[in-house]
């Protein structure tokens, strides 16, 4: 563990001033959709109106005859190319069957967006409708139609082979067991089983995905909103059968990601269009298509079963989690082909024996991919609601039950591994005081405040893992340039790197410039995601600064002339950190509308490098979680997304966010630079359960599904007569 040297702490205490801030507040920051090339064409797609159908014929006659149309391609021409971050199961363009409403059958390149759209509408496709599987349980039936009969032939990127699955409609599956589960249940005073459901939601970054592809000699140039340019380069290479050396990816400012922009679905066909037309081709996604046909967060059904002793101590736990993976698994980058933390049920507790089963299932719904802390909002909602229900039934205060079970360093958690991370007891103690839990609950009891309640929920997130490298160059004038391939989707990565390097070198911030390059200009980088930027890429920046210091010896920067060093970092940590909420909610007795009166978040973040950005990640994470807790629901009827614009898919506005107090735990150093941990996914997952628990405390009604809407509370209160 690195100690924080005196020289560095002084710079870390400097006020943070985002290095790209000026560009972002003056409109100078250029995003992918702002880039144009001479002679650029525009792409539009022909998409399936059916959730499952055979493509009988595609007639391009009318479309090709339209003035201004430069190319029309169908799946017949791109066959058998498929895309996918791990499993390449998504055809660039479908050639035999379409698997969801919005699946692409053909693409047009034309002089204007309008002509392209009109030509796409003029493509005549004949379909033969097939029975659609809209429910994961139906997909798992023994006789269910197999949606991907050719799955065995799909490429599986990143080395290794695809894990076997128990049913052909399963994308990914896992079972993990530790301890003697049967004995644990047998010894239990009580065993509780609850079933929870979580709605499909969308990342709702406000920048629709955009990409521009053109050919320059034998090289393919790509401008994109993808947040992992090197991974995209590899992905393009595999899917298109073109060496990586011929592909250059440029991913600059990204207008929000929240996990969704790891998957690219346009760049592949844009390459083909650029190839046949000889012109640059751009695609900017219509927001309605963002909501209907990209990659959502997985809807889920979660069954938890837990045995406890008379004091509420957990003795055994089993769970079964079924994620609706939609038509393609292409959005999932992880080897298991499930949302990243699919197996983490009952996270944050000491669990002596557990058997956890999770799976993602193919259906004819919009594909699901990664979304901020994949798998965790679903599991945290279930687990923290489950804990509250157990506490209630045992007559134990919900806070006390958590204190009895919360994981402490060295304890075995639900994964069966010893816990390396936050001392849960210290975190809960801080939450108890910061939220004035005792005063508040006593106050509510004493005044008999009907309709007001306090809800508690905790959450866990691993500190980011992976490998990265950074190049530092010293210029003749003694300035330091950090060259990186990390694009910034909003987290403030470049400012983090600047502060780390300046701190380690003991030079003013202005002396360190951060230069983001294309995949040609900088060393390989794993991309933004998985809470990785500060601990991994930040550690690479620190390693580079240390290497530079070593090369400098006693010399000053101004004395060495041009010099280049590389810093590398490999974080394979098992470290995790913890956070917890106390929410005070008020439920209107007639309408059942929930008003969060106050929220307290305590988060273990280790050393703070970017105070403003950290605050933004936590506050923004809370509101992101709040949207998914109380309103967000990407509703699907008969396979069609019916919340197809931001007027119908509602996300919180500034007038919908409650007062929030954030308290930080910073004393326990993490594996990141100077003891930093991660923050980007450290706040959103537990909000759903905190709301559900607060609602239950406020009005006695338990909602077992997300989002916790006014109508659900109303319906449940009528059913239960409470």
């Amino acid at each position: 563990m690195t100690g924080v040297a005196e020289a560095t702490t002084s710079i870390l205490r400097e006020p943070e001033y985002r290095i790209e801030g000026r560009d972002k507040v003056t409109g100078a920051a250029r995003f992918a959709a702002d880039i144009v090339r001479p002679g650029m064409l525009h792409a539009a797609y022909v998409t399936s109106p059916f959730p499952h159908a055979r493509v009988v014929s595609v007639d391009l006659t009318r479309a090709r005859a339209m003035p201004g149309v430069r190319a029309v391609l169908t799946g017949a021409e791109t066959k058998p190319q498929r895309l996918g971050r791990r499993l390449q199961d998504w055809p660039l363009l479908a050639w035999d069957r379409v698997l969801f409403i919005g699946d692409r059958v053909a693409v047009v390149a034309a002089d204007t967006v309008e002509i392209a759209a009109a030509a796409a509408a003029a493509v005549d496709v004949e379909y033969e409708e097939l029975p659609a599987i809209l429910d994961p349980e139906a997909a798992l039936a023994p006789e269910a139609p197999v949606l991907h009969p050719d799955a065995a032939g799909y490429a599986y990127l990143g080395g290794g082979t695809r894990p076997t699955v128990p049913h052909p409609n399963v994308q990914g599956h896992g079972i993990r067991e530790h301890g003697d589960v049967d004995a644990g249940f047998a010894a239990s005073h009580r065993v509780y089983e609850h079933t929870f459901t979580v709605a499909r939601t969308h990342q709702s970054y406000l920048e629709p995905r955009a990409s521009l592809v053109w050919l320059e000699g034998d090289r393919i140039r790509v401008v994109t909103t993808n947040k992992a340019p090197f991974a995209l380069r590899q992905h393009l290479s595999v899917s298109l059968g073109i060496p990586e050396s011929r592909i250059v990816v440029d991913a600059g400012h990204i207008g929000g990601d929240f996990g969704g922009k790891g998957l690219s679905i346009d760049e592949f066909v844009l390459y083909h269009l650029a190839r046949v037309t000889g012109r640059p081709v751009r695609a900017v996604t219509r927001y309605a298509d963002e909501l209907q046909a990209t990659n959502t967060r997985h809807a889920a059904r979660i069954i938890l079963r837990t045995g406890v002793d008379p004091d509420g101590r957990i003795l055994a736990h089993t769970s079964r989690v079924i994620f609706d993976g939609g038509a393609y698994a292409a959005g999932k980058p992880v080897a298991t082909l499930m949302p990243g933390d699919a197996m983490l049920t009952l996270a944050g507790y000491r669990v002596p024996a557990a058997r956890v089963e999770a799976m993602a299932v193919y259906t004819n719904q919009v594909p699901a991919g990664h979304s901020r802390a994949p798998g965790q909002p679903q599991n945290a909602f279930a687990a923290e609601s489950h804990m509250d229900l157990i506490a209630r039934d045992l007559g134990i205060d919900a806070f006390a039950l958590r204190e009895r079970n919360v994981v402490r360093p060295g304890d075995v958690d639900v994964t069966g591994q010893p816990w390396h991370g936050t001392d849960g007891a210290a975190l809960l103690a801080k939450l108890r005081s910061a939220s004035r839990y005792d005063d508040r609950t006593a106050n509510i009891r004493s005044v008999g405040a009907k309709g007001i309640g306090v809800g508690i929920a905790l959450g866990v997130r691993h500190v980011g893992r992976g490998r990265a490298s950074m190049v530092l160059r010293v210029t003749a004038s003694g300035h330091v340039e950090l060259h990186t391939g990390v694009s910034d989707q909003g987290g403030g990565a470049h400012t983090v790197f600047q502060r780390i390097v300046a701190s380690e070198l003991g030079v003013p911030l202005e002396q360190v410039a951060v230069i983001r390059g294309t995949t040609d200009a900088v060393p390989n980088d794993p991309g933004v995601g998985g809470s990785r930027v500060t601990p991994v890429q930040g550690s690479a920046a620190l390693a580079a600064a240390r290497a530079l210091k070593k090369r400098l010896g006693d010399r000053e920067l101004e004395e060495v002339g041009a010099l280049e060093v590389i810093g590398e970092a490999a974080q394979e940590t098992h470290e995790a950190s913890m956070y917890a909420y106390a929410l005070v909610a008020e439920v209107d007795p007639d309408t059942c509308k929930v008003r969060i009166r106050q929220a307290t978040l305590v988060a273990d973040v280790g050393t703070v490098i970017n105070p403003v950005a950290l605050r933004g990640q936590l506050e923004g994470g809370f509101v992101f979680g709040l949207g998914q807790a109380v309103m967000e629901d990407l509703r699907v009827e008969d396979g069609r997304v019916v919340t197809a614009n931001l007027g119908d898919y509602k996300i919180p506005t500034i007038a919908d966010v409650p007062p929030l107090t954030v308290e930080l735990l910073t004393e326990d150093p993490g594996p990141g630079p100077f003891g930093a941990k991660s923050a980007g996914e450290l706040a959103n997952p537990a909000v759903g359960a905190a709301v559900a628990n607060a609602v239950h405390a406020a009005c006695g009604v338990r909602v077992m599904s997300l989002p916790v809407t006014a109508e659900k509370i109303w319906r449940e209160s009528r059913r239960s007569g409470s």
């Binding site: 109106p49 059916f50 409403i101 509408a121 409708e129 309605a288 009827e637 008969d638 069609r640 019916v642 197809a644 614009n645």
Partner: protein, 148 residues
Amino acid sequence: MKFTHTATVAASRDRVWAKLMDIPAAARCVPGVASVRAAGSDKYLGTLAVQVGPVRLVLDGDLVVTARDEKAGTASVKADAKDSRVGGAIRATMALHLSEKEDETELRIATDLAVMGRIGEFGQAVIKRKADQLMQDFADCLARQVMR
């Protein structure tokens, strides 16, 4: 979206069946239907104009009787139509069922309607209401015509 509509007609089942199976005549009972004509056995071409406020849809398509069983009083009809200007389409399957009770015949129509493309982006609830009205008007009109 699924609907069920019923209408009761003071006529024998045979009379209602005959009326129902005269597709061009029966189809004209749907408000906004124009120019229904036969195109082979059990297949018909036609146009349906629907207006919701300023939005005017002209749906061109076909209607196929996919099954009929006079003895059981059941028939299935499938309709496919699209509006090429707006860029959207509908597909409806209708299960018709006649049952005779004393002097009356009950017509029951179970409809499964899919609204696709751009049309579907217009409020689904309003479309559903409109379709619901259309089918009820059809059932009522048919009842009136048989009694005439």
